[in-house]
């Protein structure tokens, strides 16, 4: 329709107010309605300027500039999202698109990937971004002395080569159709190199903002990069990312106007914040999920019927409502979020059903069951409360869950992967292959269920190298069915990213891949 086209042009700022109204009136609209419509669509046009203060819930004095150890939003938001670029990025719809890379092509059945860099890219110090910088930035995370959290992610990369100044070729040990997604990880920004070595602690990157000042655990100040490769972006002149760990302090600072945006809004008091006329809440169901993984090698969890009994014995709706105040979607023991490509919702749905739980216990040759569940808030926020509810739900099925409260300190070291059944969380991965390879493949370092299913492992490798979309979809449906039926994970809920901002800020669609609009809030948002 013509009007839609005009609206689009108005959004882009290519039609003046007068032209738009003249056109709209010819379609039979009143002048007043046309005026309202124009200001509505034209408002969506991003504007330059302003000093945005962003309040994140994390940040510690031990934070480092080294991207291999970006732990949480305290470093991810300023130093990756605002200051750096990876080869690729994930957009608001969950698709992978080029960031520093202009194009990416698979070769040799996905065993090799060719990335071409955009023309005229520069780092903040004016140096050109070259293929050698890309190679050095990836190599930094690989090798025996790597201290990077991305090391295991790049295990499948056998070799990286340059082909001229603008082309990089990755050779993988097996086919991987999703490799461009891996290149979008926040641990792997492209950094300037010298003689093939990057200065990981350096503050010169290629992103939308340049480094100004940083006090670890307090705040990071960044200035607009006038030479940024995305035209018109970023919109803010200056940003400050402030670490405010205390929930109430973060909310208060937003209300008083000292911060324009806050992450991790406190769910318990969210209804009060919603009533504030100057504040807007954004909520997206991300890829992140909270789980109770059981070690399938340990009795009684080695019996698939015991696992299924426990899956039926949880009332996830109740937990989503009472522990997460409705800001979470109940899980179905498939760790793949609905927004991810090829995601399915396997049948039968694990709704709360004590009779079915009893039936599966019977099949396992048991009339009652007593199991230990180790929980701590480090596992996931709300793990203890959810555990208490679960304990109550399971009683109806003759299952006695002995809830053990573990200390937060050293939880990942002493409880996770060691105790038979515990609480854990995953911030999720943008592809099925990545998620499954990280957590459910046999031999994966973080296989928290110690699950090893021959069919699953075979399919996972086959699907990774399969470039035919329809065949892949079929394989991934079976993979998710297997985890759902046979796996040892109880997916309690998919958690929503609940964030709040002043109405002075405006934004487009909010990306669900990470919090803070895919961590790229600073680059994507503007002052209305």
């Amino acid at each position: 329709m013509e009007l839609e086209k005009m609206k689009h042009l108005a959004t882009k700022g290519k039609v003046s107010r007068r032209e738009f109204i003249q056109f709209a009136v010819t379609t039979g609209m009143t002048i007043a309605a046309a005026q309202t419509m124009f200001s509505k669509v034209a408002k969506a046009e991003p504007k330059r300027g302003g000093f945005a203060r962003i309040g994140v819930a994390h940040g510690s004095t031990s934070d480092t500039m080294d991207p291999g150890n970006y732990l949480d939003t305290g470093t991810q938001v300023p130093f990756w999202g605002a200051m750096s670029n990876s080869l690729t990025e994930v957009d608001a719809k969950g698709n992978v698109v080029g960031d520093l890379a202009e194009s990416m092509e698979p070769a040799d059945d996905g065993k090799s990937w060719v990335f071409k860099l955009r023309k005229g890219l520069t780092f903040h110090d004016g140096k050109d971004v070259t293929s050698e910088d890309v190679v050095a930035s990836f190599r930094y995370h690989m090798g025996a002395d790597s201290k990077s959290a991305a090391k295991s992610l790049l295990e499948a990369v056998a070799d990286i080569k340059t082909d001229g100044k603008e082309t990089v070729i990755f050779n993988l040990s097996g086919g991987n159709a999703d490799f461009p997604y891996i290149a979008s990880d926040y641990h792997i920004p492209i950094m300037p190199s010298k003689d093939g070595v990057v200065d990981a602690n350096g503050t010169v990157r290629s992103g939308a903002f340049t480094f100004e000042k940083w006090e670890p655990g307090v705040s990071a100040k960044l200035k607009r990069n006038p030479n940024y490769h995305k035209s018109g972006m970023p919109y803010f002149d200056e940003i400050e990312v402030v670490s405010v760990a205390d929930n109430a302090a973060r909310m208060n600072a937003l209300i008083t106007g000292e911060l324009h945006w806050i992450g991790r809004a406190d769910l318990k008091t969210l209804n009060l914040l919603e009533k504030n006329p100057d504040i807007q809440i954004t909520e997206v169901t991300g890829y992140g999920h909270y789980v109770y993984p059981m070690l399938t090698t340990v009795a009684p969890f080695d019996n698939v019927h015991v696992r299924q009994a426990l899956k039926y014995a949880m009332n996830r709706e109740d937990i989503a409502k009472k522990v997460f105040f409705g800001h979470a979607a109940p899980g179905n023991d498939n760790p793949i979020a609905p927004g991810i490509k090829f995601a399915t919702n396997p049948e039968p749905i694990y709704a709360y059903d004590p009779d079915k739980a009893k039936f599966h216990l019977g099949k396992a040759g048991l009339t009652s069951l007593k199991v230990d569940l180790s929980v701590a808030d480090t596992g996931f926020t709300g793990a203890v409360e959810a555990g208490v509810l679960y304990q109550e739900h399971a009683k109806a099925a003759g299952i006695d869950i002995n809830l053990i409260r573990e200390p937060n300190d050293g939880y990942w070291d002493n409880v996770w992967l060691k105790k038979g059944w515990c609480a854990s969380y995953w911030s999720g991965r943008p592809t099925i292959d990545w998620m499954m390879t990280t957590v459910y493949a046999a031999g994966a370092a973080w296989n928290e269920t110690a699950w090893s299913n021959a069919r699953f492992n075979e399919l996972l490798v086959a699907a990774r190298g399969e470039l035919d979309e329809a065949k892949r979809a079929g394989m991934y449906a079976e993979i998710q069915q297997l985890v759902h039926d046979d796996g040892g994970v109880v997916v309690v809920v998919f958690n929503n990213y609940v964030e709040a901002h002043s109405k002075k800020l405006a934004h487009g669609d909010v990306a669900p891949n990470w919090e803070a609009d895919g961590l790229k809030l600073a680059e994507r948002w503007w002052f209305a």
């Binding site: 031990s62 934070d63 150890n69 002395d145 201290k147 480094f211 205390d246 600072a253």
Partner: protein, 325 residues
């Protein structure tokens, strides 16, 4: 005067030994904590190889005694070592503990000093007035108000103040996130609410002790003599009672000052004030041993020095202690 000098030197010597013992205890207790820096930094994403690489680089694979000796050897010559966490805006690839602590310590001392400048005179004046008009309505009101504020947990006082004085009435800042280049006046304005919180939680103890110490003396014969002579009550309290009451008052003030330096981490967190308390909590949770040790030594030294000052005040204001027989 010589006697005082000898006492001070003796106490300082003992203080150094105390610090040494504290550092050994901290090291020992730290070894009992589960996990280490590498595992804390990598969290859920730790793999055995990356943890091993971290441990090699930071020397965490060495036995605890060896690490402690290396560290204490540096401290003796004034080198507090380097934080395990990497570099940042501080330049280079190392973060010396001294450089990490210095700005935080100066923030904490600034907050503590501002709070003390308000709280100590206020507590003394209120205490004196309460003693002067004891059992009057004024005395009761002051007692009830200060006891109420000290009986309320400090985080609660902080939230209440923030709610009423920053959110409902936008008079003060809700965040006290100052940095090294914050102008002095803005720094003062930003810490207004934290200072008010600290004043409210410290005044009661000092004020009650002043009142009690003076009332205690008012029963003694020399005060009765003064009263019979017709000296006005105000003069009795300021000129005759107060000089003899300094010792217990100084002790309580010293304790409260020490609290203002080492015990305000909750107030720091609630107002996101970058003080040394937050630094130590971060360092403990990340198992950053050199930073924890540095903070612990500063805290211990604060207690030792303030107690020493209190004792000296007690000696100086009491001639009997100046000339021990």
């Amino acid at each position: 005067m010589n006697a005082i000098l000898v006492t001070v030197l003796k106490r300082l010597g003992l203080g150094v030994i105390t610090l040494f013992v504290v550092s050994i205890i901290i090291s020992f207790v730290f070894e009992l904590l589960p996990g280490d820096f590498a595992k804390a930094i990598l969290g859920q994403s730790a793999t055995p190889e990356t943890v091993a690489a971290f441990q090699r680089e930071k020397g965490l694979d060495r036995p605890p005694v060896e690490r402690y000796l290396k560290w204490i050897g540096g401290v003796v010559v004034g080198d507090f070592g380097e934080s395990y966490s990497g570099a940042g805006s501080l330049g280079g690839s190392k973060r010396p503990v001294a450089k990490l602590i210095a700005p935080r310590l100066s923030n904490t001392l600034f907050l503590a000093a501002t709070a003390a400048i308000v709280a100590v005179p206020l507590a003394l004046v209120l205490g004196l007035l309460a003693a002067l008009y004891r059992n009057s309505l004024f005395d009761r009101v002051v007692n009830v108000v200060t006891l109420t504020s000290i009986s309320t947990p400090e985080f609660f006082v902080a939230y209440i103040l923030m709610l009423f004085l920053a959110v409902k009435l936008p008079w003060f800042y809700a965040l006290a996130n100052v940095s090294s280049d914050t102008p002095f006046l803005e720094h003062l304005a930003r810490i207004a609410l934290p200072v008010l919180t600290l004043v409210l939680v410290t005044v009661a103890q000092m004020m009650r002790m002043t009142r009690a110490a003076i009332i205690n003396l008012l029963a003694s014969p020399y005060i009765e003599m003064a009263r019979l002579k017709g000296v006005p009550p105000r003069r009795i309290i300021v000129h005759h009672a107060l000089p003899n009451a300094w010792a217990p008052i100084a002790n309580v003030i010293a304790l409260n000052l020490a609290y203002l330096v080492v015990g305000v981490v909750i107030v720091e967190v609630v107002f996101t004030y970058p003080g040394i308390g937050q630094l130590m909590v971060d360092a403990v949770s990340k198992r950053d041993m050199p930073v924890v040790q540095g903070c612990a030594l500063i805290f211990a030294a604060t207690y030792i020095l303030l107690n020493l000052v209190a004792d000296i005040v007690a000696i100086v204001t009491n001639p009997r202690l100046l000339h021990p027989r």
